[in-house]
Amino acid sequence: MNNIKPTQLMVLGGGVLLLIGSFLDWFSFGPFGANAYDSDFFGLTGILILLLSIELIAVSAIQAFAPQVNLPEKLLGYSLTQLTTVVALAAFLTAFGQWFRSNSAFGVFLAGIGAGVALAGAIWEHQQGASATGGTAKPTTF
């Protein structure tokens, strides 16, 4: 428990905020409101945000509280930290981009903030890992 990094807590907390935000209203007009799971308005946005937030929460929780669990080191050339960054970036851009729709409601703002916190934590974690190993990812030769 003493080895929990603040970056892992940022990703975990951000993922939880993202998850909670997805259940709150993303759109409101008078008495009417719709959350991200209203597929008439948002299609699969809610379900995809749910999956992204589960990835953020699960990976960060395992890394923080169950380090004995071996997670895959790489997937499609991305390290696990890079994948977490990619997932957080996707969630952040999806939610933040919709802040500027007309009649945006609290849920989309909370989701964007949560995803932003998770993204900052993932980037920070990635930078820490890179500096600990003496450098960042290998340059690509085309």
Partner: protein
């Protein structure tokens, strides 16, 4: 021209599709740039399309152009893949809404093509960087 590789070409093609899709209808008579309906997502799609097409085009046809080798710890192909994945999430999600039009469909297809190009490019550049066996 004989050294053309599929990865950068896919990134270029996917980027062009993304770029074009942002100008087409995402909803009834509504392009991706209608901020009341789609916020900044249309602008993000345009910018990601420009980035993917530019990087793919420069890699394929102008190898003398020096691109940054590392952006926030990502190789440039991985960075394109990350951006295209983001675009895929919101475009594919909106495909299933009540109002989706051709721009949405073209957009997520372009995003998939760009992601494939980024993965192929990165794996060709770092063949040892593919997934290793996982022990649970």
């Amino acid at each position: 021209m004989n050294d053309l590789k599929p990865g950068p070409i896919l990134m270029l093609g996917g980027g062009v599709l993304l770029l074009l899709s942002s100008f087409l209808d995402w909803g009834p008579s509504t392009s991706g740039f209608e901020t009341d309906a789609f916020g900044l997502l249309g602008i993000f799609t345009l910018l990601i399309g420009i980035a993917a097409a530019g990087i793919g085009g420069a890699t394929a046809f102008a190898p003398q152009v020096k691109l940054p080798s590392n952006i926030l710890g990502f190789t440039i192909a991985q960075f394109v893949g990350a951006l295209a994945f983001s675009a895929f999430i919101w475009l594919f999600a909106f495909q299933f809404s009540d109002f989706s039009e051709i721009g949405i469909s073209l957009g997520w297809i372009g995003a998939v093509v760009a992601i494939a190009g980024a993965v192929v490019t990165d794996m060709q550049a770092n063949p040892s960087g593919t997934g290793s066996a996982t022990t649970f």
